[in-house]
Protein backbone atom coordinates (compact mmCIF):
# COMPACT_ATOMS: atom_id res chain seq x y z
CA UNK A 1 0.00 0.00 0.00
CA UNK A 2 1.16 3.49 -0.81
CA UNK A 3 -0.33 6.87 -0.04
CA UNK A 4 0.71 10.51 -0.51
CA UNK A 5 -0.63 13.60 1.22
CA UNK A 6 0.49 17.22 1.16
CA UNK A 7 1.31 18.29 4.70
CA UNK A 8 3.75 20.97 5.92
CA UNK A 9 3.76 22.32 2.36
CA UNK A 10 5.33 19.20 0.90
CA UNK A 11 4.30 15.77 -0.38
CA UNK A 12 4.59 13.05 2.23
CA UNK A 13 4.55 9.49 0.90
CA UNK A 14 4.33 6.28 2.90
CA UNK A 15 4.67 2.89 1.27
CA UNK A 16 4.32 -0.34 3.21
CA UNK A 17 4.87 -3.69 1.47
CA UNK A 18 4.00 -6.06 4.33
CA UNK A 19 1.03 -8.37 3.79
CA UNK A 20 -0.52 -7.48 7.15
CA UNK A 21 -0.76 -3.77 6.33
CA UNK A 22 -4.08 -1.94 6.70
CA UNK A 23 -5.41 1.58 6.11
CA UNK A 24 -5.38 2.39 9.83
CA UNK A 25 -1.60 2.78 10.01
CA UNK A 26 -1.66 5.32 7.14
CA UNK A 27 -4.34 7.33 8.94
CA UNK A 28 -2.27 7.26 12.10
CA UNK A 29 0.97 8.34 10.40
CA UNK A 30 -0.60 11.17 8.41
CA UNK A 31 -2.47 12.51 11.43
CA UNK A 32 0.84 12.50 13.30
CA UNK A 33 2.38 14.72 10.58
CA UNK A 34 -0.68 17.01 10.80
CA UNK A 35 -0.14 17.26 14.53
CA UNK A 36 3.55 18.12 14.08
CA UNK A 37 2.63 20.80 11.55
CA UNK A 38 0.03 22.35 13.88
CA UNK A 39 2.54 22.47 16.69
CA UNK A 40 5.82 23.44 15.02
CA UNK A 41 4.92 25.49 11.97
CA UNK A 42 6.21 29.06 12.24
CA UNK A 43 3.62 29.98 9.59
CA UNK A 44 0.58 29.12 11.67
CA UNK A 45 -0.77 31.76 14.06
CA UNK A 46 -1.83 29.18 16.62
CA UNK A 47 1.24 26.91 16.62
CA UNK A 48 3.27 26.53 19.78
CA UNK A 49 6.32 27.88 17.94
CA UNK A 50 4.42 31.06 17.01
CA UNK A 51 3.15 31.46 20.57
CA UNK A 52 6.69 31.04 21.92
CA UNK A 53 7.97 33.69 19.48
CA UNK A 54 5.19 36.04 20.58
CA UNK A 55 6.12 35.48 24.19
CA UNK A 56 2.73 33.95 24.98
CA UNK A 57 4.23 30.64 26.11
CA UNK A 58 7.03 30.77 28.67
CA UNK A 59 9.88 28.30 29.00
CA UNK A 60 8.19 26.31 31.78
CA UNK A 61 4.92 26.07 29.83
CA UNK A 62 6.41 24.34 26.80
CA UNK A 63 5.02 20.94 25.82
CA UNK A 64 7.16 17.82 26.23
CA UNK A 65 7.65 17.59 22.46
CA UNK A 66 8.77 21.22 22.33
CA UNK A 67 11.23 20.65 25.19
CA UNK A 68 12.65 17.68 23.32
CA UNK A 69 13.10 19.73 20.14
CA UNK A 70 14.76 22.56 22.08
CA UNK A 71 17.13 20.07 23.62
CA UNK A 72 17.92 18.45 20.25
CA UNK A 73 18.41 21.88 18.67
CA UNK A 74 20.99 22.85 21.28
CA UNK A 75 22.85 19.59 20.84
CA UNK A 76 22.78 19.84 17.03
CA UNK A 77 24.07 23.40 17.12
CA UNK A 78 27.00 22.27 19.23
CA UNK A 79 28.06 19.33 17.07
CA UNK A 80 27.76 21.29 13.81
CA UNK A 81 30.04 24.15 14.93
CA UNK A 82 27.04 26.46 15.15
CA UNK A 83 26.02 25.84 11.55
CA UNK A 84 22.70 24.41 12.51
CA UNK A 85 20.94 27.18 14.35
CA UNK A 86 17.20 27.33 14.96
CA UNK A 87 17.34 30.99 15.93
CA UNK A 88 16.99 33.30 12.93
CA UNK A 89 19.01 36.53 12.57
CA UNK A 90 15.86 38.34 13.77
CA UNK A 91 15.96 36.29 16.95
CA UNK A 92 12.91 34.19 16.06
CA UNK A 93 12.80 30.54 16.95
CA UNK A 94 12.25 28.29 13.93
CA UNK A 95 12.97 24.62 14.51
CA UNK A 96 11.51 23.49 11.13
CA UNK A 97 14.88 22.28 9.88
CA UNK A 98 15.15 19.81 12.71
CA UNK A 99 11.50 18.90 13.09
CA UNK A 100 11.14 17.40 9.63
CA UNK A 101 13.72 14.62 10.08
CA UNK A 102 12.61 14.04 13.64
CA UNK A 103 8.97 13.65 12.56
CA UNK A 104 9.86 11.20 9.76
CA UNK A 105 11.88 9.18 12.24
CA UNK A 106 8.99 9.10 14.73
CA UNK A 107 6.55 8.12 11.98
CA UNK A 108 8.80 5.20 11.01
CA UNK A 109 8.92 4.16 14.66
CA UNK A 110 5.11 4.13 14.80
CA UNK A 111 4.93 1.92 11.69
CA UNK A 112 7.53 -0.45 13.11
CA UNK A 113 5.64 -0.68 16.41
CA UNK A 114 2.53 -1.69 14.47
CA UNK A 115 4.44 -4.85 13.50
CA UNK A 116 5.37 -3.77 9.98
CA UNK A 117 8.84 -4.32 8.53
CA UNK A 118 9.16 -3.28 4.89
CA UNK A 119 8.34 0.35 4.36
CA UNK A 120 9.56 3.84 3.68
CA UNK A 121 8.46 7.28 4.79
CA UNK A 122 9.35 10.13 2.41
CA UNK A 123 8.68 13.75 3.33
CA UNK A 124 9.70 16.20 0.61
CA UNK A 125 12.57 14.01 -0.57
CA UNK A 126 13.89 13.07 2.88
CA UNK A 127 13.54 9.35 3.47
CA UNK A 128 13.59 6.66 6.13
CA UNK A 129 13.80 3.26 4.37
CA UNK A 130 13.31 0.04 6.33
CA UNK A 131 13.28 -3.73 5.95
CA UNK A 132 13.99 -4.47 2.30
CA UNK A 133 16.37 -2.64 -0.01
CA UNK A 134 14.73 0.39 -1.59
CA UNK A 135 15.93 2.05 -4.77
CA UNK A 136 16.43 5.72 -4.06
CA UNK A 137 17.24 8.11 -6.90
CA UNK A 138 19.17 11.32 -6.31
CA UNK A 139 17.37 13.98 -8.29
CA UNK A 140 19.29 15.97 -10.88
CA UNK A 141 19.15 19.55 -9.59
CA UNK A 142 19.39 20.75 -13.21
CA UNK A 143 16.62 18.55 -14.50
CA UNK A 144 13.96 17.56 -12.05
CA UNK A 145 12.65 14.42 -13.74
CA UNK A 146 16.09 12.87 -13.96
CA UNK A 147 18.15 10.88 -11.43
CA UNK A 148 21.93 11.16 -11.30
CA UNK A 149 22.56 8.31 -8.83
CA UNK A 150 20.65 5.24 -7.78
CA UNK A 151 21.12 4.24 -4.15
CA UNK A 152 20.20 0.92 -2.54
CA UNK A 153 19.07 1.72 0.96
CA UNK A 154 17.92 -0.45 3.82
CA UNK A 155 17.42 0.52 7.47
CA UNK A 156 18.92 3.94 6.94
CA UNK A 157 17.93 7.54 6.31
CA UNK A 158 18.64 9.61 3.19
CA UNK A 159 18.23 13.38 3.12
CA UNK A 160 19.04 16.01 0.54
CA UNK A 161 19.58 19.61 1.35
CA UNK A 162 19.85 22.07 -1.46
CA UNK A 163 18.53 24.59 -3.82
CA UNK A 164 17.82 24.68 -7.51
CA UNK A 165 18.71 28.30 -7.56
CA UNK A 166 22.08 29.18 -8.96
CA UNK A 167 24.16 31.67 -10.82
CA UNK A 168 26.04 34.79 -9.84
CA UNK A 169 23.08 36.98 -10.71
CA UNK A 170 21.14 35.60 -7.82
CA UNK A 171 22.30 37.13 -4.62
CA UNK A 172 21.31 37.62 -1.06
CA UNK A 173 19.47 40.96 -0.97
CA UNK A 174 20.42 41.47 2.66
CA UNK A 175 24.09 41.10 1.89
CA UNK A 176 24.80 42.09 -1.70
CA UNK A 177 28.33 40.79 -1.76
CA UNK A 178 27.34 37.27 -0.83
CA UNK A 179 26.01 35.05 -3.57
CA UNK A 180 23.96 32.00 -2.75
CA UNK A 181 25.92 28.80 -2.41
CA UNK A 182 27.91 27.32 -5.26
CA UNK A 183 26.56 23.98 -4.14
CA UNK A 184 23.20 22.92 -5.50
CA UNK A 185 22.52 19.78 -3.57
CA UNK A 186 24.03 17.68 -0.84
CA UNK A 187 22.65 14.20 -0.19
CA UNK A 188 23.51 12.48 3.07
CA UNK A 189 23.04 8.81 3.95
CA UNK A 190 23.01 8.20 7.69
CA UNK A 191 21.92 5.69 10.35
CA UNK A 192 18.42 7.20 10.32
CA UNK A 193 16.62 10.14 8.76
CA UNK A 194 16.87 12.36 11.82
CA UNK A 195 20.67 12.12 11.74
CA UNK A 196 20.93 12.29 7.94
CA UNK A 197 18.64 15.32 7.73
CA UNK A 198 20.25 17.46 10.41
CA UNK A 199 23.77 16.85 9.09
CA UNK A 200 22.66 17.43 5.48
CA UNK A 201 21.19 20.79 6.50
CA UNK A 202 24.26 21.83 8.48
CA UNK A 203 26.76 20.61 5.86
CA UNK A 204 24.87 22.34 3.04
CA UNK A 205 25.14 25.62 4.92
CA UNK A 206 28.92 25.14 4.99
CA UNK A 207 29.11 25.37 1.20
CA UNK A 208 31.96 23.55 -0.51
CA UNK A 209 33.42 22.44 2.82
CA UNK A 210 30.22 20.58 3.66
CA UNK A 211 31.18 17.34 1.93
CA UNK A 212 34.39 17.20 4.01
CA UNK A 213 32.31 17.62 7.15
CA UNK A 214 30.29 14.53 6.11
CA UNK A 215 33.50 12.68 5.19
CA UNK A 216 34.70 13.11 8.76
CA UNK A 217 31.47 11.82 10.32
CA UNK A 218 31.47 8.14 11.22
CA UNK A 219 28.56 6.22 9.74
CA UNK A 220 27.64 8.90 7.20
CA UNK A 221 28.23 9.19 3.46
CA UNK A 222 27.44 12.04 1.12
CA UNK A 223 27.12 13.17 -2.49
CA UNK A 224 27.44 16.82 -3.41
CA UNK A 225 26.49 18.46 -6.72
CA UNK A 226 27.91 21.88 -7.55
CA UNK A 227 26.71 24.54 -9.97
CA UNK A 228 28.87 23.17 -12.78
CA UNK A 229 27.28 19.74 -12.62
CA UNK A 230 30.22 18.16 -10.86
CA UNK A 231 29.41 15.45 -8.32
CA UNK A 232 31.70 14.83 -5.32
CA UNK A 233 31.29 11.73 -3.20
CA UNK A 234 32.63 10.71 0.20
CA UNK A 235 35.02 7.76 0.28
CA UNK A 236 32.42 5.19 1.38
CA UNK A 237 29.56 6.43 -0.76
CA UNK A 238 30.05 4.01 -3.64
CA UNK A 239 28.89 0.98 -1.65
CA UNK A 240 25.34 2.37 -1.57
CA UNK A 241 25.35 3.00 -5.32
CA UNK A 242 25.92 -0.66 -6.25
CA UNK A 243 22.93 -2.85 -7.12
CA UNK A 244 22.02 -5.39 -4.45
CA UNK A 245 21.09 -8.72 -5.99
Amino acid sequence: MKETKIIMGMPITVEIRDKNVDAEIFRKVFSYFQHVDEKFSPFKDTSEVTLINEGKIGESERSEEMKEIFHLSEETKKITDGYFDVISPEGKYNPSGLVKGWAIYNAAKTIKEAGLENFFVDAGGDIEARGQYWKVGIRNPFKREENVKILYIKDMGVATSGTYIRGQHIYDSKNNKKTISEILSLTVIGPNIYEADRFATAAFAMGEKGIMFIEKLDGFEGYMIDKNGLGTETSGFEKYAKPIL
Binding site: V136, T163, I165, R166, E215
Partner: protein, 152 residues
Protein backbone atom coordinates in the same frame (compact mmCIF):
# COMPACT_ATOMS: atom_id res chain seq x y z
CA UNK B 1 56.44 61.64 -11.67
CA UNK B 2 56.51 58.77 -14.18
CA UNK B 3 55.63 56.49 -11.30
CA UNK B 4 52.43 58.44 -10.66
CA UNK B 5 51.51 58.32 -14.34
CA UNK B 6 52.14 54.59 -14.43
CA UNK B 7 49.95 54.11 -11.37
CA UNK B 8 47.24 56.24 -12.91
CA UNK B 9 47.32 54.33 -16.19
CA UNK B 10 47.26 51.05 -14.36
CA UNK B 11 44.27 51.95 -12.23
CA UNK B 12 42.45 53.39 -15.26
CA UNK B 13 43.07 50.12 -17.06
CA UNK B 14 41.75 48.13 -14.11
CA UNK B 15 38.61 50.28 -13.88
CA UNK B 16 37.91 50.08 -17.62
CA UNK B 17 38.46 46.32 -17.68
CA UNK B 18 36.13 45.90 -14.72
CA UNK B 19 33.41 47.90 -16.42
CA UNK B 20 33.76 45.84 -19.58
CA UNK B 21 33.76 42.66 -17.56
CA UNK B 22 30.56 43.65 -15.78
CA UNK B 23 28.91 44.66 -19.06
CA UNK B 24 29.99 41.43 -20.66
CA UNK B 25 28.62 39.44 -17.73
CA UNK B 26 25.29 41.23 -18.00
CA UNK B 27 24.99 40.63 -21.73
CA UNK B 28 26.34 37.13 -21.84
CA UNK B 29 25.19 35.49 -18.68
CA UNK B 30 21.74 36.77 -17.90
CA UNK B 31 19.64 34.00 -16.41
CA UNK B 32 17.55 32.37 -19.07
CA UNK B 33 14.66 30.08 -18.51
CA UNK B 34 15.43 27.15 -20.68
CA UNK B 35 13.43 24.01 -20.97
CA UNK B 36 16.62 22.04 -20.70
CA UNK B 37 16.68 20.09 -23.85
CA UNK B 38 19.72 17.87 -24.20
CA UNK B 39 21.86 16.80 -21.32
CA UNK B 40 20.67 19.50 -19.00
CA UNK B 41 24.12 20.11 -17.64
CA UNK B 42 25.36 22.52 -20.25
CA UNK B 43 22.97 25.30 -19.31
CA UNK B 44 25.00 27.19 -16.76
CA UNK B 45 23.31 30.10 -15.04
CA UNK B 46 19.92 28.96 -16.22
CA UNK B 47 17.04 27.94 -14.10
CA UNK B 48 15.36 24.68 -14.97
CA UNK B 49 11.68 25.00 -15.51
CA UNK B 50 10.86 21.53 -16.67
CA UNK B 51 7.87 20.94 -14.52
CA UNK B 52 6.47 24.42 -14.40
CA UNK B 53 3.82 24.94 -17.05
CA UNK B 54 3.44 28.61 -16.20
CA UNK B 55 6.79 30.15 -17.06
CA UNK B 56 7.30 30.13 -20.80
CA UNK B 57 10.68 30.70 -22.41
CA UNK B 58 9.06 32.48 -25.34
CA UNK B 59 6.82 34.83 -23.41
CA UNK B 60 7.28 38.49 -24.15
CA UNK B 61 7.14 40.42 -20.92
CA UNK B 62 6.70 44.12 -20.40
CA UNK B 63 9.85 45.87 -19.24
CA UNK B 64 10.04 46.72 -15.58
CA UNK B 65 10.63 45.15 -12.18
CA UNK B 66 8.03 42.80 -10.76
CA UNK B 67 7.88 41.46 -7.26
CA UNK B 68 6.38 38.03 -6.68
CA UNK B 69 4.30 36.97 -3.75
CA UNK B 70 6.06 35.58 -0.71
CA UNK B 71 5.81 31.79 -0.98
CA UNK B 72 6.05 29.38 1.91
CA UNK B 73 9.10 27.11 1.57
CA UNK B 74 8.38 25.65 5.00
CA UNK B 75 11.92 26.43 6.19
CA UNK B 76 11.12 30.04 5.58
CA UNK B 77 9.70 32.30 2.91
CA UNK B 78 10.86 32.83 -0.64
CA UNK B 79 10.17 36.06 -2.44
CA UNK B 80 11.74 37.10 -5.72
CA UNK B 81 11.80 40.14 -7.95
CA UNK B 82 12.03 39.62 -11.73
CA UNK B 83 13.71 42.31 -13.83
CA UNK B 84 12.53 42.47 -17.42
CA UNK B 85 14.47 44.30 -20.14
CA UNK B 86 13.56 44.21 -23.83
CA UNK B 87 10.86 41.68 -23.06
CA UNK B 88 13.28 39.21 -21.46
CA UNK B 89 14.11 38.27 -17.91
CA UNK B 90 17.51 39.78 -17.21
CA UNK B 91 17.71 39.25 -13.48
CA UNK B 92 15.99 37.48 -10.63
CA UNK B 93 16.70 38.96 -7.22
CA UNK B 94 15.96 37.44 -3.88
CA UNK B 95 14.07 39.67 -1.50
CA UNK B 96 13.69 36.85 0.97
CA UNK B 97 14.87 33.28 1.28
CA UNK B 98 15.22 30.87 4.19
CA UNK B 99 18.28 31.61 6.24
CA UNK B 100 18.42 30.48 9.78
CA UNK B 101 22.08 29.63 10.01
CA UNK B 102 25.19 31.40 11.09
CA UNK B 103 27.80 31.84 8.43
CA UNK B 104 31.05 31.61 10.34
CA UNK B 105 32.67 28.29 10.97
CA UNK B 106 36.05 26.84 11.62
CA UNK B 107 36.61 23.49 10.01
CA UNK B 108 40.02 21.94 10.03
CA UNK B 109 40.74 21.28 6.37
CA UNK B 110 44.23 19.94 6.97
CA UNK B 111 45.00 16.36 6.06
CA UNK B 112 41.78 15.93 4.14
CA UNK B 113 41.49 13.05 1.74
CA UNK B 114 40.84 13.84 -1.92
CA UNK B 115 37.31 12.86 -2.75
CA UNK B 116 36.21 11.33 -6.03
CA UNK B 117 34.61 13.74 -8.45
CA UNK B 118 32.72 13.14 -11.68
CA UNK B 119 30.36 14.93 -14.00
CA UNK B 120 26.84 13.93 -13.04
CA UNK B 121 25.10 11.60 -15.49
CA UNK B 122 21.52 10.57 -16.05
CA UNK B 123 20.61 7.21 -14.53
CA UNK B 124 17.57 4.97 -14.71
CA UNK B 125 14.27 6.55 -13.79
CA UNK B 126 13.13 3.24 -12.36
CA UNK B 127 13.31 3.91 -8.62
CA UNK B 128 11.07 3.55 -5.57
CA UNK B 129 11.73 6.98 -4.09
CA UNK B 130 13.53 10.17 -5.10
CA UNK B 131 15.62 12.29 -2.77
CA UNK B 132 16.03 15.97 -3.61
CA UNK B 133 15.41 19.41 -2.29
CA UNK B 134 11.95 20.17 -3.57
CA UNK B 135 10.59 22.68 -1.09
CA UNK B 136 12.60 25.72 -1.93
CA UNK B 137 12.37 25.31 -5.68
CA UNK B 138 8.61 24.99 -5.56
CA UNK B 139 8.30 28.14 -3.50
CA UNK B 140 10.78 29.83 -5.84
CA UNK B 141 8.69 28.94 -8.88
CA UNK B 142 5.53 30.04 -7.13
CA UNK B 143 6.96 33.47 -6.31
CA UNK B 144 8.58 33.87 -9.74
CA UNK B 145 5.42 32.83 -11.57
CA UNK B 146 3.39 35.41 -9.70
CA UNK B 147 6.03 38.06 -10.50
CA UNK B 148 5.93 37.16 -14.20
CA UNK B 149 2.16 37.14 -14.29
CA UNK B 150 2.38 40.80 -13.38
CA UNK B 151 4.79 41.42 -16.24
CA UNK B 152 2.50 40.11 -19.00
Amino acid sequence: MTKTIKKFLLSAFVIISSVFYVLFQRVGNGPNFSNNTGAGLATRNSISQNSSPMVSANANYKDGQYTGTSADAYYGNIQVKAVIQNGKITDVQFLDYPQDRRTSISINTNAMPILKQEAIQAQSANVDIVTGATDTSQAFQESLTSALNRAV
